[in-house]
């Protein structure tokens, strides 16, 4: 019965791995060096660079994808960074087109702007809620946490469940800018990370109020009229509905041929259909 002993003997050298510290360090460095290799992206070789608003970015990605399918020889790079960064990039030439989901400030008006689409917000409640119309000021009071119960709005009773989007979301940015202005949304508000979940929660909870993109309103929730103005297409087109913001493409001076072609594509019937299917409003 000496076979088990023999086996341990033959195993031993393999168990005792002795390397000099330098050798070990070398292996470690090699391991580290291998890691980032998969992560780096090649440099953006030519083509059109479109950068800016993270609210527009997903749509721009779609437009670029379809556009490149039609014109395989043209390359479009879409980058985020936010509206201000996009405007800055258009000015400095880092991007041929800057994307902004807010109106240009007076000092930015020297740039050329094109409205590619518009994004509307709807303030939504549960379909069984008897509230139909609310003043924009009251909406602000509710989201700032000054009005906490439905009694104060004269509709039913109980605490209002306020549902908002997460910090950094374009929809929240638009709501902040168009409704809250300088005020903060209350800390106690429930935070969800997509229009869909906000809608699902409002559809479930009869005491809730939230805001979502206009294009995503369906029968499961009720969009409130704001200061007597319904969120209807007619009111939006006439510019009466208050919660609409433009999606702007900004160029420094007249656009070059490549930028021009991309802009024309988005404003074409096909591009605008993509706008609508993404839940946005047409440019005109």
């Amino acid at each position: 019965m000496n076979s088990p002993r023999q086996r341990t003997e033959s195993l031993r050298p393999a168990r005792r791995i002795r390397h000099s510290p330098i050798q070990a360090a070398g292996i470690l460095v090699l391991g580290l060096a291998l890691l980032p290799a998969g992560c780096s992206r090649g440099p953006a070789g030519g083509g059109l660079t479109v950068a800016g608003s993270t609210s527009i970015q997903p749509f721009a990605d779609r437009w670029a994808e379809i556009y490149q399918r039609l014109h395989p020889e043209r390359i479009v790079n879409v980058q985020g960074g936010g509206s201000s960064a996009g405007i800055q990039a258009a000015r400095s030439g880092a991007a041929q087109i800057g994307m902004s989901s807010r109106e240009l400030k007076p000092e930015e008006k020297d740039l050329t702007e094109y409205i590619m689409a518009r994004d509307g917000l709807a303030v939504v409640v549960h379909p069984l809620n008897s509230l139909r119309d609310i003043g924009l000021d009251r909406v602000r009071d509710v989201f700032a946490g000054r009005i906490k119960t439905w009694d104060e709005l004269g509709r039913g009773s109980g605490r209002i469940t306020v549902v908002t989007r997460e910090e950094g979301s374009g929809t929240r940015g638009a709501f902040q800018e168009l409704v809250m202005r300088k005020e903060r949304i209350a800390r106690e508000a429930i935070v969800e990370d997509s229009n869909g979940t906000v809608r699902a929660i409002v559809a479930q909870d009869p005491r809730s109020i939230g805001y979502i993109s206009l294009g995503l309103v369906d029968a499961s929730v009720k969009a409130l009229a704001l200061d007597g103005v319904d969120a209807s297409d007619a009111n939006i087109l006439a510019g009466r509905y208050p919660l609409v913001r433009p999606f702007l493409f900004v160029t420094n001076g007249p656009p070059g041929p490549e930028a021009r072609a991309f802009l024309d594509f988005i404003l074409s019937e096909e591009g605008q259909e993509l706008v609508e299917s993404g839940g946005l409003l047409r440019a005109r």
Partner: protein
Amino acid sequence: MTRLERNDRLVRLALLMIAFSAVSILIVITVFIFSEGTPVMFRHGPGRFLLGLDWYPSEKAFGLLPMIVGSFVVTAGALLVGVPLGLACAVVLTQFASKRMGRILKPAIELLAGIPSVVYGFIGIVVIVPLIRDNLGGPGLSVLAAAIVLGIMILPTVISISVDAFQAVPSAYREGSIALGATVWQTIHMVLLPAARSGIVAAVILGMGRAIGETMAVIMIAGNAAAIPGSPLAPVRTLTSNIALEMGYASGEHREALFATGVILFVIIMALNTLANRASSRRKG
């Protein structure tokens, strides 16, 4: 050197390199999180991060206290739900269950561990949240909902480790106790539980680590309000949800602040792991 010896060396070297690359991933993650997350903390002062109540990254307010408290509150709630259930289950499995019963119970518990967390979250939002809203009030998305769902999610961890702990108790203890005239219940809570204590502590701490690290289910059912919850029915945001919720659009200092959230989470989890290791090594020693 023969060809076989050379092959042996080569294989050994290759395996060593693969092993080291696993370790270097850990190093890279640690270095990365700390290098991305700590500068912003020191720029604004660690006190403002750890003790600030306001989380408004767009206004440069990076108070993480509500999320730190939130993580601990939700985890404590999950333990309150999961530990009694888990311990009871482990006692049944080791003391009462017949072979056949064990054959059904054990795989069922293992199956519980295999359910993806998004499914737990979905069940939470469809079943538990409306139940709480309709019967107890509040929005339903709450500390309580998160505690119940997480309590169920940590069960497999708590059960399997405490089963090990009970099985490690020498059967002479149990037999001796019974022989001295103790009832089964007396034997369990006066002999078995104390004897298995350090293993149970390890089970609780590992369950805690699981609860504090869970993200998806918590985002779906906790409501994610960045405020310290005033009651079990109030919404709450944990450290992990804070990162996952806002990662999508965050840029600049906001993004760095999410890494800072990661740093705090990292430190908490490391501390828990160390505690668990201490507890289980005491068991062996």
